[in-house]
């Protein structure tokens, strides 16, 4: 089994090196893409086999070698494949395999083809380290690793020039990349502090040791650790207020958005919370957990509201991702870790599918993102239409699709937990979700063919790409049906979450409510945007001028706020400090030197060459000595 672990882990790495070392400077060749995808597939198969193995015989724990040994600290490269991590592995490798194959088609015309694959595989590798590691330091390696890969991939088209914020909220790929990296760094600091806390209070960073020792710690420490770790999670999973980078990250190629900014990396935060469930499920940190849940609910709503008005096809999907992450945190915060993980997986499938669909559309529309310029494309792009339809249905949470089960479970949890405000928010959000996701679908595929006027000639993706997307579609539909098996499998490791009898009694009603809301959302969307001819959608200038619309359209002015109150002051302060450094700190040094030189010039005056003044100096000196003598003699 060990070998399987290493195969699963290192296959993507090999792919990355293969692409990066041998083909970095050579012109694009499909060989790279195929090899990389093949290795990913291999990794996926290995993960599956591991999953089966774990299901039968339980967790696999391997240690590769020592990493850091200093003082009492010792960190190995250790990998733990248990129910949680194996689930993540399967999801990650599956989605990334699909994305790799997809990219072969999508990046076809890009001259950075080979580079792209090396980055992409590298990302998968770091992601696997993140989920498989058996200690917090290892987790942090992956944590930073995915950060860098996302930096590389967001900034993949680094050659694009900056554009003013008004034209393009995410100024340029390189800008967005830096923003993402730095914002994540802010959170990582929190995570580091958490790690330090753990080390100095427990003396190890190994999960098992740490979780063993947690109950013996003082409450204050536990709370501190929980907060610190959650700050880390907030960064990666783009929770408010560290969320702006996610939408800007859409500057990256669409497969990247699908893989990193929907399916895998952004869920790392959720994974961390799930991983650390022994901590978060302690009574001492109940407050923190509840805060996590509330923040999740808030973000779910907040993001959904922004999605309502967005025009950028990718931003819409990104915002919906954000909102779904909110759901996951809500579940995790309320202690329903397995449900959170289940939603994580389901979301990974349909959201990746959705993104790839969006990618197809962009590909067809020569990277046009504005849904206002699309419409009625279902004729030309049937495949993508179906896929995106499925994905949106799943996202909207209509019955028998993956999203339905997971999301419904989360809402139920909220209800069951008795925190009805969260519940209410989540229910409303569910309706909004249905609305904006179908708004997008109808905008794109129904209604007038607005693109014709603009002279686009869309055509659907290559067949093999569409085929490659099939597994995701299949899972987006069917994943929910395995909920019970999944539960049975995962709860060997995660605490089970039992709905109270009372909730069971109401369950069907709650589900119904959600469905009704969702359907209404879809219907409204259809009414507004799907019509053709004279029912065709018109822009409502008046409404677009309204405060509420502008507020939402400008992401509640949060980016503006950051720019005004963080970026600009920091820049100014830096300039000031530099000025001070030159003028004061360095200046004073030079001043001392000058002072010496000056005093030299002055005292030089006594050396005027005139003998009689020399004699006077001497006489003065003599008198001075004698006088001093007299004085000290009288003093005694």
């Amino acid at each position: 089994m060990e070998s399987l672990v290493y195969v699963a882990l290192f296959a993507p790495f090999v792919g990355s090196l293969f692409a990066g070392l041998f083909f970095a400077r050579s012109p694009k060749t499909h060989l790279v893409g195929i090899v990389a995808s093949g290795l990913l597939a291999l990794s996926f198969i290995a993960s599956l086999m591991l999953a089966i193995h774990v299901a039968e015989f339980g967790a696999v724990h391997v240690t590769l070698m020592d990493w850091i040994n200093a003082g009492d600290l010792s960190i190995p490269f250790g990998f733990l494949v248990d129910e949680v991590s194996v689930t993540m592995m399967v999801v990650v490798t599956l989605v990334s395999t699909v994305v790799h194959i997809y990219s072969i088609g999508y990046m076809d015309h890009d001259k950075g083809y080979n580079r792209f694959f090396s980055y992409l595989s590298a990302f998968v590798f770091s992601m696997l380290i993140l989920v498989m590691s058996d200690n917090f330091a290892g987790l942090f390696i992956g944590w930073e690793g995915v950060g860098v890969c996302s930096w590389l991939l967001i900034g993949f088209w680094y050659h694009k020039a900056d554009r003013p914020f008004e034209e393009n909220p995410s100024i340029s790929p390189s800008w967005a990349a830096n923003e993402a990296f730095i914002m994540n760094r802010v959170a990582d600091l929190g995570m580091l502090v958490g790690i330090f806390l753990i080390y100095w209070n427990i003396g190890s960073l190994q999960y098992d040791v740490v979780f063993e020792a947690l109950p013996n710690l003082k409450d204050g420490i536990l709370v501190a650790i929980a907060i610190a770790l959650f700050i880390g999670a907030m960064g990666k999973s783009a929770q408010f207020p560290l969320h702006t980078w996610l939408t800007d990250a859409m500057e990256g190629p669409t497969p990247v958005s699908a893989l990193i900014h929907a399916a895998t990396m952004v869920t790392a935060g959720v994974f961390l919370v799930i991983r650390a469930n022994p901590l978060f499920s302690l009574d001492a940190v109940a407050g923190v957990s509840f805060f996590i849940a509330s923040l999740g609910a808030f973000v779910a709503f907040y993001a959904a509201s922004m999605a309502l008005s967005a025009r950028d096809i990718k931003r819409i999907v990104a915002l919906s991702t954000l909102s779904q992450l909110g759901y996951m945190f809500a579940a995790a915060g309320l202690g329903a870790y397995w449900i959170a993980l289940f939603h994580l997986a389901a979301h990974a499938f349909f959201k990746a599918l959705l993104f790839l669909g969006a990618g197809n559309v962009m590909h067809a529309m020569d990277d046009e993102l504005d849904i206002f310029k699309m419409g009625g494309m279902k004729k030309v792009m049937r495949g993508s239409y179906i896929y995106m339809g499925i994905a949106s249905v799943a996202l909207a949470g209509l019955p028998f699709f993956a999203g339905f089960y997971s999301k419904d479970a989360i809402i139920e949890t909220a209800f069951n937990d008795g925190s009805f405000i969260i519940w209410g928010i989540l229910v409303i959000t569910a309706g909004m979700t249905a609305f904006y996701s179908f708004r997008q679908v109808f905008f794109t595929f129904h209604g007038d063919e607005r693109y014709k006027a603009l002279g686009f000639h869309p055509h659907d993706m290559y067949k093999y790409v569409l085929v490659a997307m099939a597994p995701l579609a299949a899972l987006a539909i069917s994943f929910g049906w395995f909920m019970e098996d999944f539960r049975e499998f995962i709860t060997r490791n995660l605490p089970d979450y039992e709905m109270s009898h009372h909730t069971h009694h109401w369950a069907w009603l709650l589900g119904l409510l959600v469905i009704i809301l969702a359907v209404t959302g879809i219907v409204i969307a259809y009414k507004k945007y799907a019509g053709t001819g004279k029912e065709a959608w018109k822009r409502d200038e008046v409404f677009e001028q309204s405060f509420i619309y502008r507020l939402v359209a400008n992401q509640y002015y949060v980016p503006k706020f950051y720019d005004e109150f963080i970026v600009k002051p920091y820049t100014i302060a830096s300039e000031k400090f530099w000025a001070i450094d030159k003028a004061v700190v360095d200046g004073s040094v030079d001043l001392i030197a000058k002072a010496f030189y000056k005093s030299g010039d002055v005292s030089r005056g006594m050396q005027n060459g005139n003998l009689s003044s020399y004699l006077n100096w001497m006489g003065a000196g003599a008198l001075l000595l004698v006088v001093a003598a007299a004085i000290s003699a009288f003093i005694g």
Partner: protein, 101 residues
């Protein structure tokens, strides 16, 4: 009244001060030399007096040596003085001040 050691010492002190002031005030090289001579002679007076007071000869000896030294100083000094006068055509100290700073 009877002239005691005190008077001699006062005399020598006075002479010394006169010479000293001369050294400080005079701008003419020759005058400077005179002034220094005066100072040295003041010292001689002191030595003679003290030597006599202690009934000890080394005081007078010192006085003699001082005289000798003074003589040789004059020799050297006047030599320099003459050369200088040739070069500068003046013995004014303000003129002989090319080296400064």
């Amino acid at each position: 009244m009877e002239i005691g050691i005190g008077h001699y010492l006062i005399l020598s002190g006075l002479l010394f001060s006169i010479g000293f002031v001369g050294v400080l005030r005079r701008k003419n090289l020759l005058m400077l030399f005179f002034a220094t001579e005066v100072m040295l002679n003041a010292v001689n007076v002191a030595f003679a007096a003290i030597g006599n007071y202690y009934g000890d000869l080394s005081g007078q000896m010192f006085a003699f040596f001082v005289i000798a030294v003074a003589a040789s100083e004059v020799a050297v000094g006047l030599g320099l003085l003459i050369v200088l006068y040739k070069k500068y055509g003046s013995l004014d100290l303000d003129v002989i001040a090319t080296m400064k700073g």
